[in-house]
């Protein structure tokens, strides 16, 4: 069986303007959504708060659950169905932490039982204090930053043989971020600035593969975050894990194309850079699609069968893999062409 016949020749690079406009549109939509929603919708892991997952014998009315909660002083809570509607499972969320101390489980069990007339089973309680939430937020951002940084070092080292240069650049960025973070600079701004500096450096140093890879990565992660914002899905710790995995995984396709570009660069000296890149994308198109396809198969299985807790994780991964596959062809490769001085 073969999806892509050998000798396929699609002019991907010729359509790069179309690709750029599409990507730009997605980035702008993500940006607007993030502004409207005032940043990502942080779950209790990052915002702090309390979450209770509770299962009833019979179907209770959501109003009854709410009134039960109000009895024990939990106002402003969100109550929503969790999982399949037939399972009578609910997720109760409130922004106030520090309340799961003395007698909390007992109090909530009694209040819910008397309000709904059905015995609740408290299946999960999560409470995150505001300070812990803040710490986790900082850690998550740092993790993203360091992943991007280390990957860039690896890419520019492996593809351009400039280990020392990229190592020094990365070292300087790392220490800058570290020192500024001591002075309580806002983390997101700091990291955005560091990334910007990285991009400018790569442009001037003509690290074209590293440039292509990192632009594609930022593109993938930002659009996935934007999609979460548009759908108003919550950011939790597993979602950060998903974003990081996307950083690592969506690069696979990019690396396959880059490897082929490098190979063709040596073999086919007569071709222009543009032709080489087009040839390379076409030659590797089959594996680009297949590798993503096998991963998507398992991810969809996780999305539909893995249960509610892991649902958003699977969703983020699916989005990331799709965007990553697209960006390896339409973002990463054209950027290599753009950064290459001979073609400017």
């Amino acid at each position: 069986m073969q999806f892509i016949k050998p000798g396929t020749s699609i002019d991907f690079i010729g359509k790069r303007k179309l690709g750029f406009s599409f990507s730009l549109a997605l980035v702008i939509i993500s940006f607007i959504s993030l502004i409207i929603h005032q940043g990502p919708n942080y779950g209790i892991d990052f915002a702090g708060g309390t979450l209770v997952q509770v299962k009833f014998d019979k179907t209770p009315a959501i109003q009854d659950i709410r009134s039960g909660l109000e009895q024990i002083g939990i106002a402003n809570s969100s109550v929503q169905n969790f999982g399949n509607p037939g399972e009578n499972e609910f997720l109760i969320r409130t922004g106030t932490p520090d309340m799961t101390g003395q007698g909390f489980s007992q109090a909530i069990t009694q209040a819910l039982e008397s309000a709904t007339g059905s015995a609740p089973d408290i299946r999960r309680v999560e409470m995150v204090g505001p300070q812990v939430g803040k710490d986790l937020r900082k850690q998550a951002l740092l993790a993203m930053f360091y992943s991007l940084l280390f990957i860039t070092i690896y890419i520019s080292g492996r593809f351009e043989m400039k280990w020392v240069l990229s190592g020094v650049t990365a070292g300087a960025l790392m220490s800058a971020v570290y020192f500024l973070s001591i002075f309580n600079m806002s983390m997101p701004i700091l990291i955005a600035a560091a990334l910007l500096v990285t991009l400018v450096l790569f442009w001037y140093l003509e690290l074209k593969y590293a440039m292509g890879a990192i632009v594609a990565l930022i593109h993938d992660v930002f659009i996935t975050v934007g999609l979460f914002s548009i759908l108003d899905y919550e950011f939790s710790l597993p979602i950060i894990a998903a974003l990081l995995t996307i950083i690592g995984y969506s690069l696979n396709d990019t690396i396959i194309v880059f490897d082929r570009i490098r190979e063709n660069n040596i073999q086919a000296r007569k071709l222009t850079m543009m032709e080489i890149i087009n040839k390379s994308i076409n030659e590797t198109l089959s594996r680009t699609i297949l590798t993503s396809l096998t991963t998507l198969i398992v991810l969809f299985s996780l999305l539909f069968l893995g249960g509610e807790i892991i649902h958003n994780f699977a969703f983020a991964m699916i989005a990331g893999v799709l965007i990553g596959t697209y960006s390896s062809v339409f973002v990463a490769s054209p950027i290599v062409l753009l950064t290459d001085k001979k073609n400017r």
Partner: protein, 525 residues
């Protein structure tokens, strides 16, 4: 097989080793090795992060120093116009007259050399001395408080009886506690979080309780409450008490605390025993205060306030308070393990019930099976014979992850299962890259043997590059992540290493085996 190769032997050894490690998880009795650890989100249990309010330990120390200073001054006949603790944990002492001032400075430099005199100011009444603990000393007290809290909590949990608890320091003043399989989370939290500061104080019987409840307790006394629960209705009433501030004896003098049953009322109580010094003090205070009420105060709550009938020698006392047997047992545990040097606050809690954990395992395995079977079918359909080789590699890959988890005693969490599922999709990627390359080589007119050889050698570097980036991410995640996310990083990392091995070594060996000897002109790919 053509001949024995070292590579083949090594492959067999690695697979067998993984099998040896994985088997006890499914057949616990086959040989003695531990099962794969399940995370709290899968087996149920409680994860707590406590913050030790170690600033309070500094306050307590300063408070005690003020008390001792006053005592020493009284002994030496030095008069002072007031000594008190300030909110920034310094001490202000006011004295007048040269004799008093000289005596005071001599006392501080001789007996209280931990304190330094920060400033002296001459005021109308005399001289104001500001004393403080050196910064390093305060830090020391804080550190000790956290360490002692960790030790105390560990003792309490040991006595409570939880299998395989994990208690560790996190940062400067946080303690992370993991209690797998625990069901009565409320009781565990009460047991861990109780400061258990036991004090014996006299009841102020001359003061007016009613006016104290309005907010003006007489100087030298505080308003504390006793919780009285009506055993039939379950209603709790608060009984106010005026308690003298001076602590006559505290829990530090205890040597033992046990649950006893009152033979008369058939009610449990906690019998306590003092050490020799404590027994002497207890005998003295009971002897000096006959017919007065002595309050037993635990964490600012009055447990009982019996009238002293007679001098009590022998160093034994009892704490009563309408306990259930469980409450009495837990109180005995906290008293035996000792008081926390500073109060603790729960700043993070994650509790998963056992039913939810079981559901998560079931659904995780289900999606793993379905996803795995779909991928296996797809590979056979797309690559025929070669697909089968990839499928064998995939099964071995999952076996290796399991073996790795068991061998390193890593913890499998729900995101960890997701990591394995993800690996299933990613493990065949390496094979896809190789197979596509072989197809290209075949198309360029090479023989099957040459194509396979070229395919593996040329794809190897690409596969390595692609996997290193994901491995970098796994390492970063492991470094920054906590709990479940760490579990994901572990399975992702193991999965990548395993898939490198299965694709570049195992698949290649199988290919070479099937091709060796025969002069095949076709390849099932």
């Amino acid at each position: 097989m053509k001949s024995f190769t070292w590579k083949g032997a090594l492959t067999a050894v690695i697979i067998l080793t993984a099998l040896v490690y994985v088997l006890p998880t499914f057949y616990p009795d086959c040989w003695p090795h531990k099962k794969i650890n399940l995370g709290l989100d899968l087996q149920g249990g409680m994860h707590l992060v406590l913050e030790v309010q170690n600033q309070k330990a500094v306050e307590t120390t300063v408070e005690r120093t003020v008390h001792e200073l006053k005592q020493e001054l009284r002994k030496k006949g030095i008069k002072h116009l007031g000594i008190s603790r300030n909110s920034n944990n310094s001490i202000t002492a006011t004295l007048s007259g040269d004799k008093n001032i000289d005596g005071f400075t001599a006392l501080v430099s001789d007996d209280f050399n931990a304190l330094e005199i920060a400033s002296t100011v001459t005021v109308a009444k005399g001289k104001n001395f500001v004393l403080q603990l050196p910064v390093q000393e305060a830090e020391n007290i804080k550190r000790m408080a956290t360490e002692q809290a960790l030790e105390t909590i560990r003792n309490r949990i040991d006595e409570f009886g939880v299998s395989e608890p994990d208690i560790r320091l996190q940062g400067e003043k946080r303690i992370q506690i993991q209690l797998p399989g625990i069901t009565d989370t409320q009781r565990a939290k009460d047991l861990i979080g109780k400061t258990a500061q036991l004090n014996f104080q006299l009841v102020d019987e001359t003061g007016n309780v009613a006016s104290a409840t309005q907010g003006t307790p007489p100087p030298g006394s505080v308003l504390l409450y006793q919780m009285k629960e009506n055993t039939r209705t379950g209603q709790v009433t608060k009984v106010p008490f005026l308690i003298k501030k001076q602590v006559l004896l505290d829990g530090g003098s205890l040597t033992d605390a046990r649950v006893m049953i009152d033979s008369q009322f058939n009610e449990p109580y906690v019998g306590i025993e003092f050490d020799r010094k404590g027994a002497r003090i207890f005998e003295r205070i009971t002897g000096e205060n006959i017919k007065k009420r002595l309050a037993i105060v635990l964490d600012k709550t009055v447990y009982s306030a019996p009238v002293i009938q007679d001098r009590i020698a022998g160093g034994k006392a009892r704490i009563t308070g309408n306990f259930t047997t469980e409450e009495a047992r837990d109180l005995a545990i906290v008293l035996r393990a000792g008081a926390l040097p500073a109060p603790v606050k729960i700043i993070e809690e994650r509790t998963v019930g056992p039913t939810l954990g079981a559901d998560s395992i079931r659904m995780g395995l289900m999606s793993m099976m379905v996803g795995g079977i779909l991928v296996i079918l797809f590979m056979v359909m797309y690559y025929k014979g070669a697909g089968l080789i990839a499928d064998i590699a995939l099964v071995v890959n999952i076996l290796l992850i399991g073996g790795g988890l068991a061998a390193f005693q890593a913890t499998l969490t729900l995101p960890g299962i997701a990591g394995i599922i993800l690996t299933i999709g990613m493990a065949v990627d390496a094979n896809v890259i190789i197979f596509e390359r072989i197809r290209e080589e075949l198309a360029s007119g090479k023989t099957p043997v040459a194509s396979v050889h070229a395919g593996f050698s040329r794809a190897a570097l690409t596969i390595l590059d692609a996997n290193v980036t994901t491995l970098i991410v796994a390492v970063v995640l492991f470094q920054f992540g906590t709990g479940p996310v760490k579990g994901f990083a572990v399975t992702l990392g193991l999965g990548i290493l395993a898939s490198l091995f299965t694709a570049l070594v195992l698949s290649k060996s199988i290919f070479e085996m099937t091709l060796s000897g025969k002069k095949t002109s076709t390849l099932s790919i």
